[in-house]
């Protein structure tokens, strides 16, 4: 019986799709446009996160030690290495540290002033970087290392990371706003398209009710029509995104590759693409449900 009902739902759903006409086409187009915007924005965000991760992993903290010999310096390095949140800790002798500092000051007036400068034993600390950790987590790590025996001072050039954090927050906020806007637009457009389909098929639905159709029998084909609209829109958006990615990936790689290495514009992973399709289908279903529920409330 369920199989026979499913066949009827598909049959009448297909009839709803065919009778959708221009509103159906418009709803698919709007869904595709919305989903394409989301996918494009998602691709930017996804790649920006990869870029931010590369930057974050390249920024190291420097711990200046207050020890006199190599054995004590190595012992302190080992303690730093064992501190949670530390990816790697590399010991530098005072001479190596001085050379590194001079390389950093290359060409500047400060280099002239560095004559006669001495450096302590230094440990270069690479924190275990995660985009989800905020600035406070990084400050905490610096404080933990600074509190260890043998550590005099810890410097962490967090400026870049702060800017990345701020930009990521901005992008996430903008993405959320865009997503909410697109969800609303798609739901409203699909809902109106289904409402017009209901109007077109009003007589047929009235006759179905007359011969004993349940609410589910009337509603499911219309819901199916909404799901088809949403899914079609999402698939079109993904195809368009794929074409756009293929066209732009090379240009972006050339434009953005530099000091941090080769930048590649990665496509979104398959599970996000699957989510886009499922999301399109769900939005279509929700839009259709709104119209169908209103129609069933007012029909006898």
């Amino acid at each position: 019986m369920i199989g026979a009902l499913s066949a009827s739902v598909v049959k009448h759903g297909w009839r709803s799709v065919r009778s959708g006409g221009l509103p159906f086409f418009f709803a698919v187009l709007m869904t595709a446009l919305g989903m394409f915007s989301l996918t494009a924005f998602g691709t930017v965000l996804w790649n920006f996160r990869a870029l931010a991760r590369a930057v974050g992993e390249s920024v190291a903290a420097v711990a200046f030690l207050k020890v006199d010999d190599a054995a004590a310096a190595e012992e302190t390095r080992a303690r730093i290495q064992l501190t949670p949140g530390v990816e790697s800790a590399t010991l530098m002798t005072p001479e190596e540290a001085l050379q590194r500092a001079r390389r950093g000051l290359s060409g500047s007036a400060a280099l002239q002033a560095s004559a006669g400068l001495t450096m302590p034993w230094v440990v270069e600390v690479v924190p275990r970087f995660s985009l989800e950790d905020g600035e406070s987590a990084r400050l905490e790590l610096v404080q933990r290392i600074g509190a260890l025996d043998g550590v005099d001072e810890v410097l962490h050039p967090g400026g870049e990371l702060k800017r990345i954090d701020a930009l990521l927050r901005l992008l996430h906020g903008a993405g959320l706003f865009l997503a909410v806007l697109i969800v609303l637009v798609v739901v409203v457009v699909v809902s109106n398209a289904v409402r017009l389909t209901v109007l077109v098929r009003k007589d047929e639905i009235a006759i179905q009710k007359l011969v004993g159709a349940s609410d589910a029998f009337v509603a499911l084909p219309l819901l199916l029509s909404g799901v088809v609209q949403g899914t079609l829109g999402a698939v079109i958006a993904l195809v368009t995104s794929g074409i756009a990615h293929a066209s732009l990936a090379r240009v972006v790689r050339v434009a953005l590759s530099g000091a941090l290495g080769t930048f590649t514009l990665d496509p979104l992973p398959w599970w996000i693409l699957a989510c886009v399709i499922v999301g399109g289908a769900l939005l279509g279903a929700v839009g259709a449900l709104l119209s169908v529920a209103r129609f069933l409330r007012t029909s006898s």
């Binding site: 026979a4 009902l5 009827s8 006759i207 009710k209 011969v211 349940s214």
Partner: protein, 235 residues
């Protein structure tokens, strides 16, 4: 089978009730003709019986169930045991004859094979087996009415309600339609026909319930009803 207790129906804005204190009992396998002029309340009474309207007062009991107390789901279920035939057929012109009739079975969740088998059987009975795949729009009025009857009969209904089933047909087609209704009645279906066609009152043994301005004016076998009508006409 069907009981109406003090049933009234008032449409918003109407100057008088469409039905006023109607009491009626229709037994299993009866053939009832609801007679009366236009506006007498025949169609309203039928609409109450197939749950398209709710009574403003009183109770309508169909197969032991008070129709006012049915949930939407139960109402849909109740409609599946009722066949309805309209004067304007209420068929879908874009669909084929088969698909129009199949609709009544599809809502019950029958398999496609069962649906087709039962549709072909009923089409054979109404003499339209050669028109199975034709669109409704290509049929004559009489043929369309037979399709409507086939759709009503294919569910093997306990009750068959017909609202002016011969109103749009010539005498010959009207006789064919009546024969189909009588055949259904002979098989045990309760048939209620609303009509103002005097020709349909000629079957002497059928019960005729005459409505006048929403009230039952007569409830008698056809012959008695005719005599009563003549008396009123003479007056």
């Amino acid at each position: 089978m069907i009981e109406l207790y003090h049933v009234g129906k008032v449409y918003p804005g109407a100057d008088r009730p469409a039905l006023d204190d109607v009491n009626l009992s229709i037994g299993k396998s009866e053939f009832i003709i609801l007679a009366g002029a236009s506006g007498a309340g025949k169609s309203t009474l039928l609409r109450l019986l197939f749950c398209a309207e709710q009574a403003s007062s009183g109770q309508v009991i169909l197969q032991g169930k008070n129709l006012a107390r049915l949930s939407r789901h139960e109402m849909a279920k109740a409609r599946r045991s009722i066949g309805v035939v309209f004067q304007d057929f209420k068929l879908l012109p874009a669909l084929s004859v088969l698909d129009n009739i199949a609709l009544a079975l599809e809502v019950q969740g029958l398999s496609r094979d069962d649906v087709v088998r039962r549709c072909l059987k009923v089409l054979n009975e109404v003499g339209l087996s050669h028109k199975t795949h034709q669109p409704i729009a290509a049929l004559s009025g009489g043929e369309q009415q037979r399709v409507a009857i086939a759709r009503a009969l294919v569910v093997e209904p306990a009750v068959l309600l017909c609202d002016e089933p011969t109103g749009n047909l010539d005498a010959e087609r009207a006789r064919e339609v009546m024969e189909l209704l009588i055949t259904a009645h002979v098989r045990g279906t309760t048939v209620v026909v609303a009509t103002h066609d005097p020709a349909l009152l000629s079957g002497g043994r059928r019960r005729v319930v005459a409505l006048d301005q929403g009230r039952i004016a007569h409830d008698a076998p056809a012959a008695a009803a005719r005599r009563s009508d003549q008396r009123f006409d003479a007056a």
